[in-house]
Amino acid sequence: MTLNRFMSTGVRRRSVLGGMAAVGAAAAMPRRIRAQETITLRWWSPQSSPEQLAAYETQMRNFEAQHENVQVVFERTSDEGYAPQLAAAFASGDVPNIVTHLPSFAVSDYWSAGLLEPFNDVIDMVGPENYYEGANQIYEIDPGVYAGTGIGNSAANMLWLRTDLMEQAGIDEAPRTWDQLRDAVSRMQGGGIFGAPLPYGRNSMTSLIFIGVIHQAGGQVFSPDLQVAIDSDETRNALEFYRSMREYCPPGATNYSWGESLTAFVSGATATGIYTGRVLINVANQNPGIADYIDCVLYPTVSEDVPAWTFNDFPSVFIPRQASNMDVTKQFAAFLFDPEGYIQQLHAAPGHVLPVLWTISENPEYLDNPIIERYTPQVDLMAAAAAEGYNLGWESQGHQPNVKAGEIINSNVISEMVQRVVLNDENVDQVLSDTSSRLEEIMGS
């Protein structure tokens, strides 16, 4: 009865058939005609402090305002976790559209496996003339084709100092050599304050920092033609130095990675630190009482004859080859360098990620920042150091790009070598021989 009444309320068979035809036609309509279909872009980055997230939010919303059918979502990864996450993403085909802030050697690793989209179009959109000279050299793994570009520079192994503690200890100058550093930290250690927060954990930070120490000893991990060269007197000196610093580090440094090391200095638990310029904003926010007493210098070397070696992880931008909506993705990648959003992103942690575009470095809006104004000499020093910086993917100007650098870091070969010598007190010759074999195995895989 009810059904009959419904059938007789004026819904005619012709209307129903008409509606069905309309739905069918809509379903059969070519995709391009439905211009308002929402496109979602996924953005991954391991850099996600609250200030950085706010900057990303600005960049995403500004881009969406210019592209009404585009939605950008941000998804966090981490320095220690990006490799497995991306491996799973690539394997499943469910990749993000854009990935930022990973070290350059990760880019070369993925590029060599054919997993990335060439980045020349994006660099052209940003304007090659706006970059510092040679800024994209590290991404030119195959001649004329760029695997990605830098979203910034970093000087990740700056030696941070507490000038008030130096003064109390009667230290006039920042240490230039390892001997001076050991002397300084031994004099500043005490009263609940440790000398240094060097990492001794089985993780990427220990590997990356110790590669710097090998270079600060005058050595190298690979020769310029990428033969394993870690078994050297310089590496032995580096291990000896690192072992000698253990007594000046907190007991838990055996598990330290970037976060713990940073917090140890910022909180005042250690007299020196080793980190990027993120120290500046963290001190301002978390421990302003020491803000007037912090300074940074290049990390000391074995002697004054050996030049400083700055670890620059060259925070990158790249696009997976399998990413959907490639045209819009490339537009968004270029949009990340739009001054308004890019400067806000750089200001999220002033001195931590340094601009790769000279047009931004000279932009009054970039310079108009209380942290940058307050610590101008330190920021300038970090910028200069980063510009001459290297990492395992590119150990010097004379080195070939090492596309296996990412796997070497993720394998913990280097950090295990440090732990075996420093924590387990194993025979250095045996450890170096084992390490060389493992490196050769990875290079040959």
Partner: protein, 299 residues
């Protein structure tokens, strides 16, 4: 007579077909979620596969030869056994002890029985974060408390050196999983006939004798099942150890699960990782066979 027998056979065949029809969905699901991944892992283990692309070449038994000749697998197997035996022993001791306590007539017994389950229900990530904070050298409550009590002068490195790291991991594992033992043992304790204890008392048995002569024999069957199940679960534990120590220092707490993970996602060698996981499965098969035999005998 022959007609009746024929009709009986037909009925049996019909029942058999119905049985196959009813069990088919289970077999299909089982094949999809267990048999297919297992066969895929065995297949992968004969290839050298680059994880991000899942492309590679056939290498025959190379991955298994490397498994047998490389120290990594055997070292991790020993570490896995130390972890499994250590944490399982503590889980059983704490679990049985707590179950006996909660079986008594205590004030707030119901509340206590609920609270004791808390570690088992809390997320492993949250539990590990809390424990890492407790173990922290600079701000951790454990070091702080021990130094306040004058037991130590300097903070102890709980998770960065051996044997502290293994002890720490075993303790946290025991804390996290002992409630499972409590639940199972407590349930069994409540079914032990009271007259057995009365008879033992009449025979002059004290509390300790009653535990060993009455309670423990009664718990034996449930304890065997608990030990086998928890041994299997602890053997393949990943998240708790990975988050606490990452397998370090060096490879001192790197169990087989962590080794498989590192091979698959850090070194991008999915084929070798598959071979390791097949080796791990064969070891676990021993536990499973004991469990199956045990349950079959009891049934």
């Amino acid at each position: 007579m022959a007609t009746a027998a024929h009709a009986g056979h037909r009925l049996e065949r019909r029942y058999a077909r119905l049985g196959v029809f009813l069990i088919a969905p289970t077999i299909v699901v089982f094949s999809l979620v267990i048999v297919y991944p297992l066969l895929a892992a065995i297949y992968l283990s004969f290839f050298s596969v680059y994880t991000p692309t899942l492309e590679g070449e056939f290498t025959g038994a190379d991955n298994y030869i490397r498994l047998l000749t490389n120290a990594a697998f055997w070292n991790s197997l020993i570490t896995t056994l130390i972890w499994t035996v250590g944490t399982l022993s503590l889980q059983i001791v704490f679990g049985v002890g707590m179950a006996l306590l909660l079986h008594q007539n205590l004030w707030f017994r119901s509340l206590a029985r609920s609270l004791v389950l808390f570690p088992y229900f809390v997320s492993t990530v949250v539990a590990v974060l809390v424990w890492r904070w407790l173990f922290n050298d600079l701000y951790g409550a454990i070091n702080h408390g021990l130094m306040q009590l004058g037991i130590m002068d300097m903070p102890l490195d709980w998770l960065g050196t051996m044997p502290n790291a293994m002890i720490g991991v075993i303790l946290v594992g025991a804390w996290k999983y002992f409630p499972f033992v409590v639940i199972a043992v407590l349930a069994r304790l409540q079914t032990i006939p009271e007259h057995l204890y009365e008879a033992a008392k009449i025979d002059g048995a004290g509390p300790i004798a009653r535990f060993f002569d009455v309670t423990l024999p009664q718990l034996r069957s449930v304890l065997v099942v608990i030990i086998l199940l928890r041994a299997i679960w602890d053997f393949k534990e990943f998240d708790l150890i990975y988050l606490l120590t990452g397998g370090g220092p060096v490879t001192s707490t790197q169990t087989l699960s962590l080794l498989v993970y590192q091979e698959a996602f850090a070194l991008n060698e999915m084929g070798q990782a598959a071979a390791y996981s097949i080796g791990m499965m064969l070891v676990m098969l021993v536990f499973m066979l004991v469990y199956i035999r045990r349950t079959a005998r009891e049934a």
